[in-house]
Amino acid sequence: MARRDLPVVNVTAVAEDAENPVTEAGGTLAGLEVTLRRMVRSLRGKDNVTIQYPEQRKPYSRRFRGVHVLTQRADGSLKCVACYLCETACPAECITIEAAEVPDNGIEKVASRYEIDLSRCIFCGFCVDACPEEALIMSREYDLTTDDRDGQMAYGIARLTERPEIDAYGAGYRPHMQYPLVESYLPTQRRQESAAETGPGT
């Protein structure tokens, strides 16, 4: 475009116009348009962004990486054989395992102590990726606040295997989610299956 085609602007008129209080308020309101629209909608009870936590909760992804679960075999024994791969993979070094011998089950080895210090855990899920047998998976449990950091944050075998929260939140991330768990059970699931096998009335 040639220079002579440019429109001529009267700068003084523009400046005076900008100082006009009506125009000023109009500009501010235009800028607040989205905010105001949202405000009116939420005042009328439509699409509230906030929820009344903890009474209300949002559903999380099936792949959510929450507090771990140690799965069980059909007979209720611990699936974990203490191969230490999760402990080796853990970048936060929050897993402590001690192995023991089982003479008579054909598997030889079991974890006699399995502890995850959740105050150190970064919930990266490497431990679950490392587990060759889905003996360790994650749940969708995410609120693990406590007023006793020393006593409550280290989850041992008992709490990792059976705790009410596992059912409340459901299973979370594990590496092969497209397939069902094979010979690994969450506590309720296992009890349901064994009840179904034995049948009612027994």
């Binding site: 191969c83 192995a99 011998e101 030889e108 080895k109």
Partner: protein, 555 residues
Amino acid sequence: MPLVTIDEQPLEVEPGTLIIQAADRLGIEVPRFCYHPDLRPEGNCRMCLVEVKGYPRLAVACATPVVDGMIVSTPHTSALAQGAVRGVLEFLLVNHPLDCPICDQAGECSLQDFYMHPHYGLHSSEVDPSEKVRKRKAIDLGPRVVLDSERCVMCSRCVRFSAEVSGASELQFVQRGNHVELKAFEDRALADPYAGNLVDICPVGALTSKDFRFKCRVWHLEHTDSICAGCSTGCNLRIDHYRGEIQRLVPRRNPAVNRSWLCDEGRLSYRALSAAPRLTQPRVRHDGTHDDVDWEEALAAADQGLHAARTVGRPTAVAALASTSATNEALLLFKRYVASTFVAPLLDCRFGQEDRWVEEREDALLRRRDKHPNTRGAMLLDLAETPDGGLRQMLARAREGAIDAALLLYYPPLVRQEDPATLEALAALLHAVPFSVVLTTHEGAWCRGASVVLPVAAWSEEVGTYTNYAGVVQRVGQALAPPGAARSAVQVLGDLLARAGRARASTAPGALFAELVATVPTYAGLAYESLVSRAADVYPPEGRMAYGQEGFAGH
């Protein structure tokens, strides 16, 4: 001398050298299961197949001696050899169980390592796990060894060790083909006092250690090279420790001392370190009871008491006895402190008959009667000069009232129990002497009579050197920190020397060793740094752990 070319690298070797040995010297890896440098070659695993120019078929590198002009290609350069080795490994894995998560060998297993190497493994298995031949597992073979037949690759290293080296001849293969199985006769417990070596030489997880069973994963272990303190043979070993605890001891190869072997007593000697409570704080006796004090107070008390004995000035009124389990460096400072502080002291290193037993064999392989690692070193420092000196003589003199003070450096034996008579004599000596200073590692009833007890570092907690029965000087490694306030004997003796007004000796191990070389004519020419030059003899050769990494890098 024959000239051999392996993968285009020429090497001149002595006649009779095997191809695999020449390759090891060149740093070329030839995979192997059955070959072991201290066993007779058998050539049964076929993993070391190489192509030799002019030969009609592949040769086993572990049983073919080099001839002049031989041109050898390993699986790294020969497609023919590589194909054969890949086939061999695939066959060896046909019946191998998927046990790695519960197998103690995982992490140091030849099968795992070779499988992860792009030249030998990484095949996808054609065998369905349900078709594998199942064999017996977790068979109890006595106090040291657990056998898992399924994992065995039939290399026969254990059979040969048992027959050739320890002479126990307790293992044999039975059945044939798919069903071949390693067996001890009627599954009897192995009575071999060297059974622990079967676990070391097993290249897979068939023979695993009962002591180490499920204790720790091998990739967590930290390694410290050291010398066994169980007897005067001075076997080379490696301390494997994790989070401040010794997990196991394994032999290091040293053809001049122990070849690749270690006796079971030596292997388990680390247990003795935690068998009794350790001394963690210096103690001084007030009114008949011991009180914990800090080092400053304890050293001042020791110095004052010994000083009083010195100023009395009677010759031979001070008894100084240092155990031959102490390092050469500690013994040097002990001798210097005693000789420079007292007039004609009774200075000795014998609690029993160490000097007579030092060379006496207990069996044909390794064990010796003297259960102290450094008796020869103490003798070379002239700490056993008089024919009948030692603890018993000191006790006799003390009972006559001729001893004013005693200074003892004592380490409980790591192998077997201390002779009760020795402990009684020690206790009696401490009761008969007006003032006594004891440097020791563990609590014991015998040292209740001591005026001052100073806690010192035990084996595996300090560096130094031991001189074995034959005069071989070897370096001891420090794997752990001494417990509590305990300090190395070298440091404590250095502090005592400084308090006695002597120039503060440098307690750095290299500096002390240089002084030792200047003091003992036999050591002329030795240098502290070069005492660990035997890395070349370590078996398996250095760098073997690189297999897995190499395999991953190739992807």
